[in-house]
């Protein structure tokens, strides 16, 4: 096929970009070369619209071993141990084919982690679906959950936490974000930077097929009514092969044969070979006839652009080929020497003894396009004046029932029971808590992880929303007794070519940056997913934040279930009564406007650190942060989990009962303490100037509010546990 502007545009390139390619090459590219450019220059691989803004995120810190730019971020957890982690989106493929889309998302992120030498020890996910009334929602949810489970369960890696939401803005574009944590020794981390000349380039793993060709380009475009035609661009996963690949790679990594290693993810062999060459400032030469292929007569174009899963590219030390081959033979995996590193700084491809492509590596990477897209700043919405009479007509018990059974608050047990969350024998906090927690095998340490997002707040005011998600992640870690260390972000947005959507992106990133800087909670890895829209309708801006923290002695881990009758329950942080954008305002009052709750970073940090010091001194029996649904929702969940009740005191507050119970002011936690420690706890909180108040006392199976409202724990349970199961079986 002859290459011209039209062919370039069909590959998703813009006219200007095609011109730039011709200028850089000083000639017209052939089809294989054009395919390579389109794969490297699409939004998914090049971050061309986002790079400028991502640069502003804080990415360094005392505990950061590796920030963004590698396969995943790496943090120090002391004693020579490190945690490798990252979150990544697989939104577009999951909407087209939910099972395979989600499964390969999980497979891809685990590969990113074990490529660096780390054994995956925990998976998390953040999944977002359209309205429950939308006719596709149920099947998409079922398919995604089966796909995540199908892959993660087979790999034998526990899925320890997650987040699921429903919102009509995802009707035409669901979100599937998968996160993995891996454990590695600090001195055995592997990177993707090639080094040395004439080093053998090795292909290992599955054979290359025609699946997923141009998957990354598909992920960089919007959907229209013809999405069904895109099914062939979705990859097909094989977790069994990935399990073998994991074991084989770790076995090879135990020695000193590997110079560089890179998994073949988005844009397959193209991006993996080019990234290794680019980082090493080298050239790379590949003989495509040597690539193990699953199908006959595959062209160089197809081989380079296939996104077949479970494949790795390795630059080996000379003379280690035999040793490496033996390991991959043992695990029944393909192994082929397909090329070598060169000093030319070009990528050169050969097929049937002919050179089929020759491109300077820097044109594909450093010279890739970068855009300063136009964006629109959003104003802080005006506060809504809620009529107090509206409140007085509402019964607390009725609202509580509606809130606890709301699709975004109800128990997600139907989902996480389908994920193996206990394999590896170190899961000490299962899904359903504030964070999932796994022990660092064979030590006293444990790692906590959480994944969060607040699309509604981000939509109402992106800057505040961006800060809020980071703060919530921080709180979720602290609530289990973990010291927050770093985050990974998955930035799901609409089209960067639209000023509104681009504005949401820019300001959310700014908010994330401000909060992570202030909280010393740096961003060490992440990914951007734009074009989450069908036709003209974009999703609510949904940055997902994955937070990781360390518990030095796992026996000090905190859970949210109320522990003992007669213990006291306190609130940390001030309840101001911010109702705008709360679940209460949106679902009970049907009021969708107004600003999200304000984030006071000073209070966040101070309240969080003070709680950590109380935990350190063993004063805390249970803790839970207050988020969606407000104070009473948080307390209800503690009652349900602990199978105990609470007598809530008549509160001294200027705000109404409803505002007190359902407002979503930030920076707050509920804690349970032994009454004999009240004095000490109060003293420490006062010393740190942390606002706190007594909420009540733990009693047997009933929640009593202000002596008027009484709800049994069984009632609370039935409100909270049935919605999802009923929905999925209806």
């Amino acid at each position: 096929m002859e290459v011209n502007e039209k062919v370039a545009i069909d590959h998703g390139l813009k006219k200007d970009e095609y011109k730039k390619i011709c200028t850089l090459l000083k000639r017209i590219p052939n089809l294989t070369e054009l395919g390579i450019f389109s794969a490297m220059w699409n939004e998914h691989c090049s971050y061309k619209s986002s790079r400028l803004h991502l640069k502003k995120l804080p990415t360094t810190g005392k505990k950061v071993i590796q920030g963004p730019g590698e396969n995943a971020g790496v943090i120090d957890i002391e004693d020579g141990d490190a945690i490798v982690f990252k979150i990544e989106s697989h939104n577009h493929p999951s909407f087209i084919e939910p099972y395979q889309g989600a499964a390969t998302g999980v497979g891809g992120i685990m590969r990113d982690v074990f490529t660096m030498g780390a054994r995956p020890i925990a998976n998390l996910n953040s999944i977002h679906f359209g309205s429950p009334q939308n006719k596709r929602t149920k099947n998409l949810l079922r398919g995604v959950v089966h796909g995540i489970g199908g892959y993660g369960n087979c790999m034998g890696v526990p899925t320890i936490a997650g987040q699921t939401s429903f919102d009509s803005s995802y009707n035409g574009n669901i979100l599937v974000n998968a996160m993995t944590l891996g454990l590695v020794k600090k001195n055995k981390i592997f990177y993707s930077k090639a080094a040395g000349l004439n080093k053998p380039v090795i292909y290992v793993g599955s054979k290359t097929g025609r699946d997923g060709i141009h998957g990354a380009s598909m992920a960089s475009a919007s959907f229209d009514e013809k999405i069904e035609e895109k099914k062939p661009t979705v990859q097909v996963g094989d977790p069994f092969t990935e399990k073998l690949l994991l074991e084989a790679c770790l076995e090879l990594m135990a020695g000193d044969s590997i110079i560089a290693i890179q998994d073949m993810g988005a844009a397959g062999l193209t991006s993996s070979s080019i990234e290794m060459a680019s980082k090493g400032n080298l050239g790379i030469e590949l003989n495509l006839n040597k690539v193990p292929c699953r199908e006959t007569k595959m062209s160089p174009y197809e081989i380079m652009l296939s996104e077949s899963q479970e494949r790795m590219l390795i630059v080996l030390e000379n003379g280690k080929e035999e040793l490496a081959k033996k390991i991959f033979d043992k695990w029944n995996l393909d192994f082929a020497v397909i090329g070598k590193t060169t000093k030319t700084k070009n990528i050169e491809l050969f097929f049937d003894n002919e050179q089929v492509a020759k491109i300077p590596v820097n044109t594909l990477v450093e010279n890739s396009p970068m855009y300063d897209r136009k964006w629109k700043k959003s104003k802080l919405p005006k506060k809504i004046k809620f009529e107090k009479e509206v409140f007085s007509n509402l019964k607390i018990k009725d609202i509580l029932q509606k809130v606890l059974s709301n699709q975004n608050i109800c128990s997600k047990e139907w989902i996480w029971q389908q994920y193996d969350h206990t394999v590896m024998g170190d899961t000490i906090q299962k899904p359903g808590g504030d964070s999932g927690v796994v022990r660092v095998h064979g030590t006293e340490k444990a790692v906590a992880a959480t994944v969060d997002s607040s699309a509604v707040y981000c939509w109402a005011h992106p800057l505040t929303g961006g800060k809020q998600v980071v703060a919530e992640s921080w709180r979720n870690l602290i609530s289990v007794g973990a010291t927050p260390i770093a985050i990974t972000n998955c930035l799901n947005f609409g089209s960067p070519e639209k000023e509104d959507n681009m504005g949401e992106f820019v300001e959310c990133v700014k908010g994330i940056g401000e909060a992570s800087k202030y909280l010393e909670f740096p961003v060490v890895s992440g990914n951007v997913s734009f074009y989450n829209q069908t036709k003209e309708v974009g999703i609510k801006p949904t940055p997902s934040i994955g937070g990781v923290g360390l518990i030095k002695n796992y026996k000090k881990m905190i859970t949210m279930d109320f522990k003992e009758i007669n213990n006291l329950v306190l609130i940390i942080g001030k309840t101001e009564g911010h109702i705008d954008q709360s679940l209460f305002a949106r679902t009970i009052l049907d009021e969708k406007n107004g600003p999200p709750p304000e984030i006071n970073l000073f209070n966040e940090k101070n309240n969080g650190q003070s709680l950590l010091s109380l935990i350190e001194r063993d004063y805390i029996k249970s803790a839970h942060d207050i988020s969606l649904g407000g104070l009473i929702t948080a307390v209800s969940k503690m009652c349900i989990k602990g199978n105990k009740g609470i007598k809530i005191k008549r509160f001294k507050s200027l705000i109404s009962e409803i505002e007190y119970l359902f407002s979503e002011d930030q920076g707050r936690y509920i804690i349970e303490i032994d009454p004999k420690n009240l004095k000490e706890v109060t003293k420490i909180l006062n010393k740190n100037s942390v606002h706190h108040e007594e909420l009540g006392i733990i009693i047997e199976k009933e929640m009593i509010i202000n002596e008027k409202t009484k709800v049994t724990i069984d009632e609370l349970k039935s409100y909270n546990t049935n919605w999802l199961t009923n929905f999925m079986s209806s």
Binding site: H146, G149, G150, N153, C154, M155, G156, D238, P239, F240, T241, K243, L244, W331, N332, W416, Q417, Q418, Y419, D420, H421, T422, V423, M424, G425, D426, T427, I428, R439, Y554, K555
Partner: protein
């Protein structure tokens, strides 16, 4: 006491089992599926996981592994062989215990704690345990035990049912059946009671920080019985 845990391609509870056996005093060896001979063992364990990706049928390809001939011979000579989860599926496929394991009734993977009741303690696995109801953990997609009417009669006549799913009081009706298993069967023996296959994972219940500690009781008792 010597134990061996077989690692098949796709096994993923092999390490967990190794950790548990070691914790309760076994001198355990990991054995590769492609080996010819078992090391000298007092107990052989086929661990959980997805051997050969569960392709074809769960456990069927692993049952044809090289090491399995040696495992079968060991079992036939009276040696103790225990298959957990995927290991149970392999035992069924290799004919060491009767029946089959179908897809769970509701077609979903289930990971949760369940209660099981021990019916018969006249065997090396459960002898001397001082309670009948245990809280164990399950994590499987194909644990729905099934066999023919004739087989069931034979199994029951020979006291081959090892454990039943039940509630915390030992009630074994359908409400407490997580996967649709015939008669709530969670595990069975061979006729001689030296081979045990069961879906629950005792190795995930060996520490109070994990799902529970009933697994510890099981392993402590097992090693004492073997001694």
């Amino acid at each position: 006491m010597k134990s061996s845990v077989i690692t098949f391609p796709g096994s993923n509870c092999d390490r967990d089992m190794h950790v548990a056996l070691k914790k309760f005093g076994f001198n355990n060896k990991m054995v590769w599926h492609n080996d010819n001979e078992l090391p000298k063992s007092d107990l052989v364990v086929l661990p959980g996981g997805f051997s050969y990706g569960d392709y074809l049928r769960c456990g069927s390809m692993a049952s044809k592994s090289k090491i399995m001939q040696s495992v079968i011979n060991f079992a036939k000579s009276g040696g103790l062989v225990m298959g957990i989860c995927n290991g149970f599926q392999i035992l069924v496929e290799s004919g060491l215990v009767p029946g089959v394991l179908l897809r769970n009734k509701y077609l979903e993977f289930i990971c949760k704690n369940v209660f099981v009741k021990i019916k018969n303690k006249n065997n090396p696995y459960f002898k001397n345990l001082d309670k009948d109801i245990f809280e164990f953990h399950i994590a499987h997609n194909e644990g729905n035990y099934f066999c023919t009417g004739d087989q069931l009669k034979e199994i029951e006549d020979n006291n081959q049912v090892a454990i039943y799913y039940c509630n915390d009081n030992g009630k074994t009706d359908e409400t407490f059946n997580p996967n649709g298993s015939l008669k709530n069967i969670a595990g069975i023996f061979n006729k001689e009671k030296n081979v045990l296959g069961m879906m629950p994972h005792p190795e995930r219940m060996i520490d109070k920080s994990l799902s529970g500690e009933d697994g510890s009781l099981f392993f402590k008792n097992l090693i004492n019985n073997i001694k």
